[in-house]
């Protein structure tokens, strides 16, 4: 098992039962219950450590109940009393003889039996002796008969891989025997000379020595300090008995250690000499023998370079502690402690120190300067505020640190603002200190007081001085007053204060009140004024006013601005800077909804059923992780600049329940036009959805607005319309509620495909919503505010819708000659008789202005239509309500010309709807949206189905209007697609 290797716990015994949580703690056993029994189960009593222990006899006496009977001396003639030798054991208790007693009767190894091997140094000495002894191998037997007892240290060492004879310490890689080479020339005290052959073989071995083999260090007796007790000269050695006897070096050397001759030399601390004499008697100072060929090396030359000439020179920590000895000794330990590793395993429970124990370096105490006196005087603290600058300067200099000199700042010396700068954070907008909140006047006063205090501190506060200060203050005030009077001459009175107020750092233009919001240019000028004020321009007011205005206007604006600036001057905002703005506006009507909505659940469900996971079931949203989260995950922020977290949100009307009820809020809307198209007018059941229709206000409005700005287009369009209507009027037998509508749809339906494309393009290149909003903001406000004008809203809606459809002819008109217009109109007459009742009301709003007040206001934007006289529009409105939703899209409904049968139905329904409508005015909006919603969902589905199969679209539209004809399958399908694309583009813009 893997963990058994990694875990190095040792488990002994049986584990205790886990302590239950609720278990009460065990009470400790009371003292009287802690009993001791002897081996026979009898209670034993503890009498005290020094009063008998557990066996104090009888009631702390010696003996028994009967008392202590001394042994009686009995001697008779038959039985002579022998001589009694008392032993200590006679006076001991039984316990004393047990294992832990003072006289255990166990068999133990006695000290005598051991051969004294525990002393390694003595060992070593003996080994040495044995080598030098005339009969070598003296200790071999002793080595063989090793006593069992060794000291703990030796056992530990052995467990660690140490072997007797080796040195203690980390193992080292074998070094080339430089040492020997270096010492070749030196005469040494060695006698166990390894034979030549072995030497060479060793060197050969060296070459083959694997790199990874390490060797124990030499076991070195560093220096033997044998006292010199003989009359020989220094360094004299007597005859080497081996050499003397054999004459051949190494031959007659009976040495049990020959095999590890290395060790021999180790023991002696030197390597053997490189060359040795060939034979004969040799020894120190023995002269040249007969067999010697050269007289070299007769005398031992001990060079002075072998000795240290400097105390504590090259080898610190060599264990010699200052002893100077021949250099050969000093080189022993060098480098071995570094990269060495123990061969043997490290004892259980021990680890190898990763770093050698630190050698304490003791630094000498610093040298004191000669004039140092061990007394410290504290320098007075310099308070810059209270002392005169001169004094302060002097003091600071004498202190040796001017404020400028304290530049070397660590991280912790930085203050908050410096750290802020380092971090690149923006500065706080609030005032830096309380003084910033003060008026200039107050500041001056403070300044004066401080000055006074300074004066008072430096010298006695005299009356004259106070008077002088007061006078100065008065003078300053006067000067200021006069200055302000002067400055106010060209400016409006009060502008000075405004300036001073706005110059304070707390002023924040962006947050300040916007008094002229209704008049953007004016507001812009005001903003400019404020910003200049902030920068401290004196002529802020004049320069920011509009030069093209009349003097009177300018004067008025000047007054207004100054007043506004005074009113909303940042003295209040200086306080408010202490507070933070609400992050979220308390907008009751709006609520945040995720920008991207999930796709339709039904589709997904069906996809899941078909096990078509993938695109159908996957939604991908933009998601902003928190900056800190990215940091914690070690990931760069995917949206570095955005302060957004989570999914991007948009604001929506709160009271549209669909924000909460549905996931597919926006898409059903896209089904809207289809709903309008396909919603049948037939059944009363269809009423509510129809009611809901105007609820799609937002989108309709948008399309309406979108249609509006194309002035040229709409003009063309309206012209065409009017023309058509005039041309049509005679032709149509119907009363003229909405004759003008008729021409358009045919026009659309007859459009060639290119123009349809054109039209699509135009839809896409619509200007952004903001423009429309800017233009129509006021009108839409009016709309939303007046609940009584719901009808007109509907009008607008429908109008917008129609307008949207009307646009397409635009390109046609512009692209073609206006003379082409009659073509649609000429097509219309045929269609008109049937279509008029059903279709006209839908077009009524657009046509109404044209029809009722005359053709002139044709080009008028529809939002103004509600303002038309109510009388003519009333009936229209009813019709609109009725027929509006069903307003057929150009392609599908227009060719449904012969749908005259729908007229009576519509009429009947109209009244119902009207009633309903009136009764429900209050709670309309919600209902509308709700219904719309339902419809939207249904229709969305239908749409989807429709796309691939054009026939189905017809069937749905058939369901909606039974007057549908099969004539236009193709255009119908095209129109749905068009509508979809249109809607998509609308949607896209809406959310931009």
């Amino acid at each position: 098992m893997a963990d058994s290797d990694t875990e190095d716990f040792v488990t002994y015994g049986t584990p205790l039962d886990p302590i239950e949580e609720d278990e009460p703690l065990k009470k400790p056993v009371p003292l009287h219950d802690q009993t001791v029994k002897d081996e026979k189960g009898r209670f034993k009593r503890f009498h005290g450590a020094f009063t008998g222990g557990f066996s104090a006899g009888y009631f702390n006496t010696v003996g028994s109940k009967e008392g202590w009977a001394p042994s009686t001396f009995v001697s008779s003639r038959q039985q002579k009393a022998g001589k009694v030798n008392s032993r200590p054991e006679d006076f001991m208790d039984d316990e004393d003889f047990s294992e832990h007693g003072i006289a255990p009767r166990e068999i133990t190894t006695t000290e005598d039996f051991t051969s004294g091997r525990q002393d390694t140094i003595r060992d070593k000495a003996r080994a040495l002796n044995s080598l030098v002894a005339p009969i070598p191998g003296d200790t071999v037997l002793e080595d063989l008969i090793a006593p069992a007892r060794t000291s703990v240290g030796v056992e530990m060492l052995k467990k660690m891989g140490w072997k007797e004879g080796q040195g203690i310490g980390p193992r080292a890689k074998r070094k080339p025997r430089k040492q020997n080479v270096a010492e070749a020339g030196t005469r040494i005290y060695s006698c166990a000379l390894p034979p030549n052959g072995s030497e060479e073989s060793e060197e050969e071995e060296d070459e083959y020595t694997p790199e990874n083999v390490t060797f124990a260090p030499k076991d070195v007796m560093p220096i033997d300090f044998t006292p010199k007790d003989d009359p020989h000269g220094l360094g004299y050695r007597g005859l080497d008995p081996h050499q003397a006897l054999t004459g051949l070096p190494g031959m007659g050397h009976i040495d049990l250690f020959t095999l590890d001759s290395d060790r021999t030399s180790n023991l002696l601390g030197t390597g053997g000499p490189k060359h040795r004499r060939k034979g004969g008697i040799s020894g120190e100072a023995f002269g040249v023998g007969a067999l010697e060929d050269a007289d070299a090396d007769i005398y031992d030359r001990d060079a002075l370079s072998n000795y240290d000439s400097v105390l504590g020179g090259e080898e610190p920590g060599d264990g010699l502690f200052g002893w100077t000895a021949p250099a050969q000794y000093n080189k022993k330990t060098k480098g071995s402690s570094r990269d060495a590793s123990y061969l043997g395993k490290i004892l259980e429970g021990f680890t190898l120190a990763s770093q050698a124990s630190e050698i304490k370096t003791i630094f000498p105490p610093p040298e004191l300067p000669r004039n140092y006196r061990p007394v410290h005087y504290f320098r007075p603290v310099v308070d810059l505020a209270s002392t005169s600058p001169m004094v302060a300067q002097v003091l600071m200099e004498s202190k040796g640190h001017m404020p400028q000199q304290t530049q070397e700042k660590g991280r912790h010396q930085l203050d908050a603002s410096q750290r802020r700068d380092l971090l690149g954070e923006s500065s706080l907008t609030g005032p830096a200190s309380v003084f910033d909140l003060l008026d200039n006047k107050d500041k001056e006063r403070l300044e004066g007081i401080r000055r006074l205090a300074g004066v008072g501190a430096s010298g006695a506060m005299t009356e004259e001085r106070r008077a002088a200060v007061v006078a100065a203050g008065v003078a300053a005030a006067a000067a200021k007053a006069s200055q302000s009077a002067l400055s106010s001459l060209p400016q409006t009175p009060g502008s000075e204060e405004v300036l001073s107020a706005w110059r304070s750092p707390t002023a924040d233009t962006s947050r300040s009140f916007r008094p002229f919001e209704k008049n953007p240019p004016k507001q812009a000028r005001y903003d400019q004024y404020i910003s200049k004020l902030k920068q401290g321009h004196k002529d802020a007011l004049e320069s920011s006013l509009d030069g093209s205005m009349t003097e009177w206007e300018r004067g008025r604006e000047r007054d207004e601005f100054v007043r506004a600036a005074m009113l909303y001057k940042p003295s209040s905002s200086s306080l408010s800077s202490r507070f933070t703005r609400a992050k979220h506006e308390d907008n009751e009507d709006m609520v945040e909804v995720a920008q991207e909505q999930e796709g339709d659940v039904n589709d997904k469900q069906s996809a899941v059923k078909m096990k078509m996971f993938g695109k159908l079931t996957r939604d991908t949203f933009e998601w902003h992780p928190d900056k800190l989260l990215c940091k914690r995950f070690n990931i760069p922020d995917p949206y570095p600049g955005s302060g957004l977290v989570g999914l991007p949100k948009v604001k929506k009307d709160k009271y549209s329940v669909f924000n909460f009820l549905t996931l597919t809020d926006s898409r059903p809307e896209s089904g809207g036009p289809m709903g309008a198209q396909s919603q049948p007018d037939s059944s009363p059941l269809a009423g509510p959805p129809k009611r809901a229709e105007p609820g799609k206000k937002s989108r309709w409005d948008m399309s309406e607005r979108a249609g509006q700005p194309k002035d040229a287009l709409s003009e063309f369009l309206s012209e065409a319309r009017s023309e058509a209507s005039t041309s049509q009027q005679p032709a149509s037998s119907q009363p003229a509620p909405a004759p003008s509508l008729t021409p358009e749809p045919p026009a659309l339906s007859q459009l060639p495909p290119e123009t349809q494309q054109l039209q699509e393009e135009e839809e896409e290149s619509r200007p952004p919503m903001d423009l429309f909003k800017a233009i129509f903001a006021s009108s839409s406000d009016e709309k939303s505010s007046s609940s009584s004008e719901d009808n007109s809203e509907e009008e607008d809606d429908e109008d917008g819708h129609r307008q949207m459809e009307l646009q397409p002819p635009g390109p046609l008109n512009t692209g073609m000659d206006p003379s082409a217009l009659p073509v649609p109109s000429s097509a219309a007459p045929g269609a008109a008789p049937g279509a008029a009742p059903g279709a006209a009301p839908g077009a009524a709003p657009g046509a109404a202005p044209g029809a009722a007040p005359g053709a002139a206001p044709e080009a008028k934007p529809p939002p103004e239509q509600p303002k038309l006289p109510a009388a003519p529009s009333k009936e229209q409105r009813q019709e609109e309500e009725e027929f509006g939703p069903k307003l057929p899209p150009p392609t599908s409904s227009w060719p449904q010309l012969p749908a005259s049968s729908s007229v009576p139905q519509g009429d009947a329904h109209k009244k119902k709807c009207k009633e309903k409508h009136k009764s429900k005015k209050e709670a309309k909006k919600k209902h509308k949206k709700k219904h719309k919603k339902h419809k939207g969902k249904k229709e969305k589905k239908k749409e989807k189905k429709k796309k691939p199969i054009p026939e189905e679209s017809d069937s749905t539209s058939d369901g909606s209007a039974d007057s549908d004809s099969d004539a236009d399958d193709l255009p119908g399908s095209i129109s749905t697609e068009q509508l979809l694309t249109r809607l998509k583009s609308l949607r896209g813009k809406k959310y931009e």
Binding site: A2, K604, A607, F621, L629, F633
Partner: protein, 317 residues
């Protein structure tokens, strides 16, 4: 010289019962291996979290401090901390050695179903029945979460964290993958309450088990289904599923007392491991070895590929 690689051995399945640990802490809600698989965390119904040695089955530590049953736990990569979540709406960060609560994170509005460390244990991600996933900072002492992911429309039953992604499975039947690197949220619709989600070891796939008794392997990048594994029973409980340590098999708990092993590629049941008669509530696969933990009722079982002698030896000691 290069020898040809030995033939890959057939994957070993942990079907030998090595040890049964009676945890004595009520019903075991979840059992988890620690990061290296040497220790076991068991979340008990008696408000305690316990740490066991995986090799010996001995109890090492009991962590008590939750106010209600512990539902999930996870160990930090360096074994210095444990996080656990409970029905008491809190997430607790434990110091392993001392057994003390080093942070108690409150903020969820309901019981917290699942909890997970990120790779460096700097963030705790917890998913709760309140439908939110909260990311807590372990570095600072901030009491609020770094970020709340409240996209789920129902309780979050399972979260997983990869190097740069958060995976959450929710009862609303969706698997959400928050890609921090891309800044995107991918929502995969499963149409059945998700009980458990997993990343595959290679990080290319996600595994999700749902209450329609199916485990699905989805491609992470496209959301396409790579495999569907059925046969087990999971209709009412929040049961775990996982992948084996080499992604060869898909494992899932079952309510019929078995642990099902499916071959990942073929989708066929390769082993039905009988654990007991009751529902197998939780399982955890060893990160690097064929070793499995199952939790049923009050006991945890350790399963291995082979009956290992060493283990038993140690057990005898």
């Amino acid at each position: 010289m290069a020898f040809p690689l030995p033939r890959p051995q057939p994957p070993q399945l942990p079907h030998h019962l090595l040890r049964t640990v009676d945890c004595k802490q009520g019903a075991i809600r979840a059992v988890r291996f620690n990061a290296d698989g040497n220790y076991i965390l068991s979340c008990g119904g008696d408000k305690t979290l316990r740490l066991w040695s995986a090799s010996r089955g001995t109890l090492l530590k009991t962590y008590s401090g939750h106010g209600y049953e512990v539902l999930d736990a996870d160990g930090a990569f360096d074994n210095s901390h444990i996080c656990s979540c409970s029905s008491d709406k809190t997430v607790i960060l434990w110091d392993v050695a001392s057994g003390l609560v080093s942070r108690k994170l409150r903020g969820h509005a309901g019981k917290v179903n699942c909890v997970r460390f990120n790779e460096e244990a700097t963030v705790i991600v917890s998913g709760s029945i309140d439908g939110s996933v909260r990311c807590w900072d372990t570095r600072s002492r901030r009491p609020e979460p770094i970020q709340v992911l409240d996209e789920a429309r129902d309780g979050v039953s399972s979260v997983k964290v990869s190097e740069y992604e958060l995976l959450s499975g929710s009862v609303d039947g969706r698997v959400r993958r928050y890609d921090l690197r891309m800044g995107q949220l991918h929502v995969d619709f499963i149409n059945s309450p998700i009980t458990c989600v997993c990343f595959s070891q290679d990080g290319q796939c996600t595994l999700s088990s749902s209450l329609d008794s199916a485990v699905r392997l989805l491609d992470k990048s496209t959301g396409e289904m790579l495999g569907e594994y059925t046969g087990h029973k999971n209709t009412s409980y929040k049961l775990d599923c996982c992948l084996s340590h080499k992604d060869t098999h898909v494992l899932s708990c079952s309510e019929d007392g078995y642990v099902y092993f499916w071959d990942l590629v073929e989708g066929s049941v390769s082993l039905k491991l009988p654990v007991g008669k009751a529902t197998v509530q939780s399982l955890s696969f060893h990160p690097s070895e064929p070793r499995l933990l199952t939790a049923m009722e009050g006991s945890v079982k350790v399963w291995g590929a082979e009956p290992e002698d060493t283990v038993e030896d140690q057990g005898q000691q």
